[in-house]
């Protein structure tokens, strides 16, 4: 029964793949295999547990044009203010040399599109791998099939990159466009890197972005990833973000979800080595009629691994958010420490947040804790502030900023922190305006 529908839904992607294929660089057989996997998985059905709260029928029914290189390379782009020391820009997944600063990278750091960087063979082969399993494998495979310029960032052994990279991933086009930006980070032992992964798009474009980020941290490496999902207000943004963390390596992800019409993030972290660490904090703002779905999955495989997951969500109007945080402590991951927290704030009636923290523990000598709350602003605190002369709007803003502040204070890169603060303030101001 579902077979014909699936064919119709994936048909335009087949056409796009055929159109793009001649221009795609590197490993055609891998591209074909990836596309075959996408066709095999198709769009998620209504009973798919991984898509329980997020219905993709609206995405399925839309038509998107493939992102042609010539268009992407000449499109006029209004770039966001710079948030780092060196900017790299992909438009619809195509690297824009003219907007990027790729000259004289810091010593020991290589940045470029796959096929252009002098990546050694092993690395090149891994870049078009797509992560297996989970609700977003289909989109990761679609990305692997059609990603135009997979961006590869390599940091050599022992290199501490003192520049903050600002990677801007732009969705653009006069017509609704599909694009497949991809960023791969390969960190050699004891290397250090800070990168801002900034997704933006034109405010009116009904684009579809299926993004992939994958990072490998060798032993002792340290990566700070500041993710900003600021896609255009009508965009569909689906992202698969996978990180493998080696022995003694440390990962920090600071996630801010501000944009899109519908977005889904699957963040999968594999604490593979002994004493690997991950700290993931995030804020999502589901206002207007935005739908934001976040799945964070952390696997503790090494002994003495540590993880912290702290997400806060704000929803208003007809906004809807889903948070699914899962931490698995595998057998043998003794002396591990896992904490997760999901706190959510509903600012107006009609908004909805579904949160589901899960902890699975298969080792006996571990320390774990989790908690989840969803509620409204404390009426006693609201009244207290109003009794001091603050208007209802001011009181609500102050309390919402306080709520978000607990995770925003973890953004230890000031330009990103102030962008998110400003954006939150801006949203709060707009919330107070009469609804049309």
């Amino acid at each position: 029964m579902s077979e014909p529908a699936r064919t119709t839904a994936t048909e335009q992607y087949r056409e796009a793949f055929e159109t793009l294929r001649p221009a795609l660089r590197g490993q055609p057989e891998r591209r074909s295999a990836a596309f075959a996997r996408f066709e095999e998985l198709g769009f998620p059905g209504s009973r798919d547990e991984a898509w329980k709260y997020t219905n993709l029928r609206r995405l399925e029914s839309r038509r998107f044009a493939p992102a042609i290189r010539a268009d992407a390379l000449c499109a006029k782009i209004v770039l966001p203010a710079t948030l780092g020391d060196r900017r790299v820009v992909l438009v619809n997944g195509h690297l824009r040399d003219d907007l990027s600063n790729l000259r004289s990278p810091p010593s020991g750091v290589r940045i470029g599109a796959l096929g252009e960087v002098r990546a050694h063979d092993g690395v090149a082969a891994t870049v078009l791998r797509w992560p297996q399993g989970g609700g977003t494998e289909r989109f990761a495979a679609l990305n692997a099939a059609m990603s135009a310029d997979p961006l590869l960032i390599e940091v050599e052994r022992g290199i501490r990159c003192n520049e903050v990279l600002h990677v801007v991933l732009v969705a653009n086009g006069a017509a609704p466009t599909m694009s497949y930006p991809r960023v791969s980070v390969r960190m050699a032992p004891d290397s250090f890197l800070r990168v801002v992964l900034h997704h933006v798009g034109d405010e009116t474009g009904e684009h579809f972005v299926a993004a992939v980020v994958d990072a490998e941290l060798a032993d002792g490496a340290e990566l700070h990833a500041y993710r900003i999902q600021a896609a255009g207000g009508r965009a569909f943004h689906i992202e698969r973000f996978d990180v493998t963390v080696g022995a003694g390596a440390r990962l920090a992800v600071r996630d801010s979800q501000l944009g899109s019409s519908l977005s889904r993030l699957d963040l999968n972290i594999n604490l593979a080595g002994r004493a690997a660490e991950a700290a993931v904090t995030g804020l999502f703002i589901a206002d207007g009629s935005r739908h934001l779905d976040t799945h964070v999955h952390i696997d503790h495989r090494g002994v003495e691994t540590r993880s912290l997951q702290d997400y806060r969500g704000v929803a208003a109007n007809r906004g809807r958010a889903v948070f699914n945080g899962k931490t698995v402590v595998h057998e043998g991951a003794q002396k591990s420490n896992a904490r997760q927290s999901s706190r959510n704030l509903l600012l107006t009636q009609g908004a909805e947040i579904d949160t589901k923290p899960e902890l699975e523990i298969y080792a006996d000598d571990v320390q774990c804790g989790h908690g989840a709350t969803t509620g409204q602003l404390d009426p006693a605190a609201m009244f207290y502030l109003r009794s001091r002369g603050l208007s209802e709007d001011e009181a609500r803003s102050a309390l919402t900023r306080a709520f978000a502040g607990a995770v925003l204070s973890r953004i230890d890169h000031a330009p990103v922190a102030s962008l998110v603060h400003d954006e939150l303030d801006d949203r709060l101001v707009r919330l107070m305006e009469p609804q049309s």
Binding site: A381, R386, S387, R388, G389, A402, F403, A406
Partner: protein, 251 residues
């Protein structure tokens, strides 16, 4: 300044104030005393517009305006201030932010410009000295992790800064040790002024040793049964509340 006539108020179906009348003029200090459950805190809550209290009868006139028609923040800007019995903790909202926002809200109402950071800080430092509070309190969350006494001092600090026309203190003495009580009382006394009225709601006479009232009212079962001067408070301390009730019902 404040004229309460025949005020009836209830929470849900429970009637608490049953015909309370009270006149307070500028420059006066009134103490409202009464046993637990007499309606003292309800009176304070109704005057500042806390949700959940329904006024079914009576009027409250404040400086010629119908106080009950104003939103809580409008009352505050018009110069009504309540020092809460249980000040809430608001983690993440900076104490300095609240003080500044509150001060600028009342200044705006009075037709004054916003204070700049420098003037604000020097003003707030003066008031903190008065309340013997360390400046580090400015950078903490509102009442976050404050002891009971620190919370009460923070309330009086806000009051000293905002210079209300009508200051209401709800059981500000409860839970204070003698040193904290002295500090709080001296803060309140420093606010005594010809243009300002102070209404103290209290269960015990102790506070009145430090803040001398012009009038003492006994509130019982939602009404004021007796009004006297400060000697009434001493008499209540000696004899309890029952004799007032008995005399009132005999009359």
């Amino acid at each position: 300044m404040l004229s309460i006539r025949d005020l009836h108020a209830q929470i849900g179906a429970r009637k608490i104030l049953k015909g309370l009348s009270l006149e307070v003029n500028a420059g006066e200090v009134h103490a409202i005393m009464g046993p637990n459950g007499s309606g003292k805190s309800t009176l304070a809550s109704v005057l500042v517009g806390r949700e959940g209290y329904e006024v079914t009868q009576g009027t409250v006139d404040y400086c010629g305006r119908n106080l009950l028609a104003l939103a809580p923040e409008e009352r505050a800007r018009e110069g009504v201030f309540l020092a809460f019995q249980y000040p809430v903790e608001i983690p993440g909202v900076n104490n300095a932010y609240l003080l500044k926002a509150a001060l600028n809200a009342v200044r705006k109402q009075r037709g004054l410009g916003e204070l700049d950071a420098f003037d604000f800080l020097s003003l707030v430092r003066d008031k903190m000295k008065l309340m013997q509070m360390d400046e580090s309190f400015l950078n903490r969350g509102v009442n976050e992790g404050f002891s009971g006494g620190e919370k009460k001092r923070n309330e009086i600090l806000q009051m000293a800064l905002l210079e209300p026309r009508l200051a209401l203190l709800d059981e500000t003495d409860s839970g204070l040790d003698i040193d904290a009580l002295r500090i709080v009382a001296s803060g309140v006394n420093s606010l005594r002024a010809p243009g300002r009225a102070i209404v103290l709601v209290t269960h015990y006479q102790r506070l009145l040793d430090y803040i001398e009232p012009d009038y003492v009212h006994v509130l019982s079962d939602g009404r004021i049964l007796r009004t006297g001067d400060k000697s009434l408070a001493l008499e209540l301390e000696r004899r309890g509340y029952d004799w007032v009730k008995q005399e009132a019902s005999a009359a």
